[in-house]
Symmetry: C2
């Protein structure tokens, strides 16, 4: 018999204890501590906390939006799959428009990626929503363009695109000017759908 921990509850408890012992959480406001813990848990890297950038009150804004039933707009199916439905306080809609059949043609018309084009279909849901970008920098850049052109404002932007072309730049742009929208992001190349989904899950309810 192989010796290993088979108790999911105890694995979570131990994991969070290790994270709290190792990560520098004291630089964070109280309303983002759980978010940082879950983001670290999703990637195995306590030092990611040092790259978190956020607006004051972003955690509270996200929690209040979820409680009021805000939809969650995801740039990728992986992000949507990573959101634990049982943690959402108001059976919040989890929306990913990337697979909509109109998106490839929209992308051609816009001269942009499919991920960016899929944001056109977010418009009816955008006001007061939680926007979660866990994959594509072009989604964040396109969101800025839509907001600059007068699109309704989300309640919170969780900006976690990952990679080598545009990811760091799009997140710096978010940190520099979030168009008045509360935000949480992570500087640099690191990010991804697991971190993005973990950030949403942290704003939900404990089981």
């Amino acid at each position: 018999m192989i010796e290993y921990n088979r108790d999911a509850h105890d694995i979570y408890r131990q994991s969070f204890a290790i994270i709290r012992a190792e990560a520098k959480l004291d630089r964070l406001p109280a309303d983002l501590e759980a978010l940082a813990v879950r983001v670290i848990h999703s990637c195995g890297m306590p030092d990611i906390v040092e790259d978190l950038v956020f607006s004051e009150g972003a955690g509270t804004a996200g929690r209040e939006a979820l409680e009021s039933g805000a939809p969650i707009l995801c740039d990728s199916r992986m992000v949507a799959e990573g959101i634990t439905r049982a943690r959402l306080p108001a059976e919040n809609a989890v929306i990913c428009t990337l697979q909509d059949p109109s998106v490839p043609e929209l992308a051609k018309q816009l001269g942009n990626t499919r991920t960016a084009a899929a944001l056109e279909l977010w418009r009816p849901h955008l006001a007061g929503s939680i926007v979660v970008v866990g994959n594509a920098p072009t989604a964040l850049f396109r969101l800025f363009e839509m907001l600059d052109a007068g699109a309704p404002k989300p309640a919170l932007i969780l900006g976690f695109p990952v990679g080598f072309v545009g990811a760091a730049e799009s997140k710096e742009a978010l940190a520099a000017d979030s168009r008045g929208v509360p935000f949480v992001t992570v500087r640099g190349r690191r990010g991804g759908s697991a971190m993005a989904a973990a950030a949403v899950n942290a704003l939900g309810r404990d089981h």
Copy 2:
């Protein structure tokens, strides 16, 4: 107008060029180079390549299995969502049994996590499959137990669980004794569903 790269094809091309310039790929066998590039692409960390551990011929074994129609057994829905179906050479089945209604009861019976229990439902598909673990160490440990008890062997194990309790240990155990099954894994706490899905995608076809 915000200046950013809107061309998905060019973003991929540039990303892969940056990765090839920065990552130490020369320690890898030729059949794992594309896998390393895509794993790096999924997490934004060129140094992850230094933690890759693998058996000789693992990339070739995985490609051949996919070409022969091997099913892909995933420990989480996020991994399954991250697999690009258009890259699969034989319309390979992508299977995740975690949401099966029998799993909670199976977990109680086994005294193990739901993710580990879900592997019971892999049994009919296990022979010659690609096993992809992107989330739970208990899935890898449970797989070893099943193999030790005589379960049919997969063609390849992609071991990328992430986190603080059991992740590093389960991957060390895989590297130390993969039960004769070809494998690719990443030492340490890092891992996750995006890396795991990227590894599968790298073994598929280019568009």
